[in-house]
């Protein structure tokens, strides 16, 4: 396996206070899982909003790689390529 590709994490507005206000974070990761591990080590407050104590993605949060939900790919084992954008988005809800 070669060097990990550089990808971009897009941080939605409500989560920016947990990473110093950054809207984007660049990091090197082969997979979404590796990207989450990087966040756990380097951006723990942001990570805790995305994953619970067991390491599972929060139930009502969707993770996209570019325009695809990882649920429709390989989950958090989805491979990443240089230039990919990973986005965390709250699931659609409403009516109350």
């Amino acid at each position: 396996m070669g060097p990990a590709p550089i990808i971009t994490i897009h941080v939605p507005g409500p989560l920016r206070p947990y990473c110093g206000g950054a809207g984007q974070i660049s990091l090197a990761a082969h997979t979404v899982r590796a990207a989450l591990r990087d966040l756990e080590q380097n951006q723990f407050a942001l990570y805790r909003n995305v994953c619970d104590e067991t390491g599972a993605l929060r139930r009502h949060l969707n993770v996209y790689v570019n325009s695809d939900n990882v649920r429709d790919l390989e989950g958090i084992d989805t491979a990443l390529m240089a230039g990919d954008v990973v986005t965390f988005l709250p699931a659609v809800s409403g009516g109350c």
Partner: protein
């Protein structure tokens, strides 16, 4: 500064703060803080400079604890929220209870799945309390309709009473190091054994400083007509203990229903206790006519307090933490409803007025005189 009445109102859409002069004629409302996020628990910590706390239970991004140091004009997240150890296997689903501890800045926090956490720095860091969180019964408790929650923490020196739904009443007599199920006389309607060792659906527990050993409990009643295994269980819903929670007896006789959620004790009279009886199926007041019921003799008899309420066609529920009483000489009660109304019961509940009628559904109401 003259005495002020401060109310914290935890709702489905954030926490509100209402403030009034001690005449309580009108209340000014602030908020919502943590807008759009459910708040199940609040605490007005009056030790030293008052601090207001609220659990902000974000279904998307997880649990937070909010703190206000300016009487509810602004709130900030504490540096961390309770969290299970990484290898525990459980994940925090909700924060149901915040209580002041003995030491300055010490806080206790009951969560879902039912566990207890403790902070020594005003909520900036938290440690799980293993004596109950890893109790041998903990993995055998089951969730009630509201989840498997530790919703009640009542402290009395080294005694700590916990209410767990559905786990029952647990008692520590060593400051929270160890806990024992203490449910003698506490019935369960949803199990073949009417009086199991643990697993009851306790709804709320209250005590009074001047009545050592006495506790009141609102338990999950409504099983008087059960005809299945174990037979009917009348009057298991409203209980009293006179031995520090080691045993309990019914005081439900005279109430129109033994089902309900909150139970509140008068601040100056340990014999005066309030409940809101609900029909167990609709979880609204019997006959759709709201009423608070008061006993002035420790539960031996009850009186209906309904002056000022609608006489019919009201179907709200008052949840377990949604009623409180202030500590003025002639205290007022306050309760919030699932339909977003906040009521005040002046003169100990003799007369009721609606302070706010269109808030979001209300989970929690706390009051303090500051």
């Amino acid at each position: 500064m003259a005495d002020r009445i401060i109310l914290t109102i935890g709702t489905r859409k954030g926490v509100f703060v209402a403030e009034a002069a001690k005449g309580r004629r009108s209340f000014a409302l602030r908020g919502p803080f943590g807008p759009g996020v459910p708040v199940y628990s609040t605490l007005i910590d009056t030790r030293g400079t008052p601090r207001l706390y609220a659990s902000s239970c974000n279904p998307f991004f997880g649990m937070k604890v909010l703190c206000s140091k300016d009487m509810g004009k602004s709130f900030k997240e504490t540096k961390s929220a309770p969290a299970f150890p990484k290898d525990d296997g459980r994940a925090l689903a909700n924060i149901w209870s915040l209580e002041a501890g003995a030491a300055k800045k010490e806080l206790w926090c009951g969560v879902e799945p039912a566990s207890l956490f403790r902070s020594h720095d005003g909520g900036d860091s938290w440690d799980m309390v293993p004596g109950i969180s890893n109790h041998e019964h903990a993995r055998k408790w089951h969730p009630g309709a509201g989840g498997m929650c530790m919703h009640t923490i009542v402290r009395d020196g080294d005694r700590v009473h916990l209410g767990i739904s559905t786990g029952g009443h647990y008692l520590s007599e060593d400051g929270g190091e160890t806990f024992q199920a203490s449910n003698k006389g506490v019935g369960a309607g949803f199990a073949p054994d009417p009086y199991p060792e643990f697993g009851q659906c306790v709804h709320k527990i209250a005590r009074h400083d001047e009545a050592p050993g006495r506790l009141y409990m609102q338990n999950h009643g409504g099983w008087a007509n059960w005809t299945g295994p174990g037979g009917p269980r009348p009057d298991i819903g409203v209980l009293r203990s006179d031995d520090y929670g080691h045993s309990w007896r019914s005081i439900a006789k005279g109430l129109p229903s033994d089902f309900g959620f909150p139970i509140v004790v008068h601040p100056h009279d340990a014999d005066t206790v309030y409940v809101v009886p609900l029909e167990p199926t609709t979880r609204s007041c019997p006959g759709s006519a709201p009423a608070v019921w008061r006993s002035e003799n420790g539960g031996a008899s009850w009186n209906r307090l309904a002056k000022g309420f609608p006489r019919k066609e009201s179907f709200f529920t008052v949840l377990r933490d949604a009623m409180d009483i202030d500590r003025l000489k002639t205290p007022a009660l306050y309760f919030g409803t699932t339909t977003g109304q906040l009521w005040i019961g002046r003169e100990g509940g003799e007369h009721w007025d609606c302070l706010f009628d269109s808030l979001p559904p209300i989970h929690n109401v706390k009051v303090a005189v500051v």
